[in-house]
């Protein structure tokens, strides 16, 4: 397992344009598979446009304590891109006035941003209905200074969404690194102990499942059933919902697909699983993604590919929801990842 990001390894796949070249080439260029644009054009959805904004997703930095093999952010301890307090202040202004009902903090490990707690404290005062922090779980056990995170989340009524690739040690550690499973289990117990994830508890704890390899996630409900049963029986752990998220062929997952000679088959699987019904609800139609340095994107994936919104408003300092809502969403072949099967988003299935 790699311990450095693609960027630190100076791998060409750290560059958005190089990735786009691959996504536009191969079986698509050769005409074996249809471009995403043509596919959604068939159902009158091209150009793809936003619906009402519901979710403001803010990426507070690419630094992470883990170097997961499938990470589309290419996050890791060596990433130095961290949102400054000044940019956070600009975000707070936007949160104050937004029509979105959900604020979604992501990373990297958002908790590693030195101003993370200040930002959460300030943002939680602004009347957002659903305030999500995407926590990788192991961060809670990574260092003593993070041990009180469950209490901190509780104090600010944060909705915790955590990644848990599988309910068995082997699969989890293979994707995320040795020891990740045990630490994640401990962190889940810590969260349960303060009330997170317990039946009827208002402290929401949801888990995210991504496949640990070149295959698509199965039925979300069936997976949730299996996860709940195994985590309860083996570790007495409770959680609310499981979100099954498809891995998109971006950054380290793209690197893995190519290195393991699975890229072409994976793209065939995504195209084969294309579900036109999912197109209406893809997350870029209700989300704006903000990067660590304040640029605006249609989604976190486009952020990693360096595809800024196609709007006159491109940065948080000039944020304007009305103008942004008139944009056309930028698409490429990675978008098949969000329309496969029951659809995939940061909130799981979309249909």
């Amino acid at each position: 397992m790699a311990t450095k990001s693609l960027k630190a390894r100076q791998d060409e796949l750290a560059i958005g344009n190089k990735q786009l070249e691959i996504l536009n080439g191969g079986p698509f260029k050769e005409g074996e598979l249809p471009y995403f644009k043509d596919k959604i054009d068939q159902i009158g959805r091209f150009p793809l446009r936003p619906n009402k904004l519901e979710i403001l997703q803010i990426n507070v930095g690419y630094m992470c304590n883990q170097v997961c093999e499938h990470c589309h952010v290419d996050a890791g301890p060596d990433r130095k891109e961290i949102m400054t307090k000044e940019t956070m202040a600009l975000c707070l202004e936007v949160i104050k006035n937004t029509g979105a009902h959900t604020l979604d903090l992501t990373g990297g490990a958002p908790e590693m941003n030195p101003n993370f707690r200040w930002f959460v404290e300030e943002a939680s005062k602004l009347g957002i209905k659903d305030f999500i922090v995407r926590s990788n779980l192991t961060i809670i056990r990574a260092n003593k200074k993070y041990y009180d995170l469950p209490q901190f989340f509780k104090k600010h009524n944060v909705h915790v969404i955590s990644s848990m690739p599988h309910y068995t040690r082997g699969k989890t550690d293979k994707q995320r690194g040795d020891g990740v499973f045990d630490k994640s289990i401990q962190a889940l117990k810590d969260l349960n102990a303060v009330g997170y994830g317990m039946e009827n508890s208002p402290l929401k704890l949801d888990l995210v499942y991504n496949p640990s390899g070149a295959f698509l996630p199965g039925n979300q409900e069936a997976m949730e059933r299996d996860f709940k049963k195994a985590l309860k029986e083996d570790f007495d752990i409770s959680f609310h919902q499981l979100f099954a998220i498809t891995n998109l062929p971006i950054a380290r997952f793209l690197d893995y697909l190519i290195a393991s000679e699975n890229y072409e088959d994976y793209m065939y699987s995504l195209v084969e699983a294309y579900n036109p019904v999912a197109v209406a609800n893809v997350m870029c139609t209700n989300t704006i993604s903000v990067s660590w340095d304040g640029w605006l994107y249609d989604c976190d994936f486009n952020q990693m590919l360096g595809l800024k919104v196609a709007s006159t408003v491109k940065h948080i300092k000039e944020y304007n929801e009305v103008i942004l809502n008139n944009r056309e969403i930028i698409i490429s072949q990675h978008c098949y990842g969000c329309t496969a099967g029951a659809g995939s988003s940061c909130q799981g299935n979309v249909i």
């Binding site: 599988h166 068995t168 082997g170 699969k171 499942y209 496949p211 390899g213 295959f215 698509l216 996630p217 199965g218 039925n219 069936a222 997976m223 299996d226 996860f227 065939y268 084969e272």
Partner: protein
């Protein structure tokens, strides 16, 4: 023509068999799809049965397809290997149970 009898890329083309006999192909795939839906058996249990049978009928396409299907359904490699052994045990048993026929014949022919 391919220089081997089995080409992994042919699995993707399975659906094309309907092109030369649309009615039968469509009926088969409708039936196939229905068989694997959740029923009295879960889709997960059906996937494991399919994996075991794939090995017994020694279909490389089916093995690829149901290994991937098992991964998608969160089935562990231990479960998959046990399913293969179930198939192998039945197949081995099917050979060995004929040993009784051999014994019967031997005894009949022997003084």
């Amino acid at each position: 023509m391919a220089d081997t009898y089995y080409n992994p890329a042919d699995l993707r083309k399975f659906g094309k068999i309907s092109e030369w006999s649309e009615e039968l192909g469509t009926k088969f795939f409708d039936y196939y799809g229905k068989v694997f839906e959740e029923g009295a058996l879960s889709a997960r249990e059906k996937s494991l049965i399919a994996l075991a049978v794939s090995h017994v009928v020694k279909c490389p396409y089916c093995i690829d397809a149901y290994t991937k299907d098992g991964l998608e359904k969160g089935i562990t490699k231990e479960e998959m290997m046990e399913a293969v052994h179930v198939g192998a045990a039945i197949e081995g048993g099917a050979t060995l149970v004929h040993g009784v026929q051999m014994m019967n014949k031997y005894n009949k022919l022997s003084m």
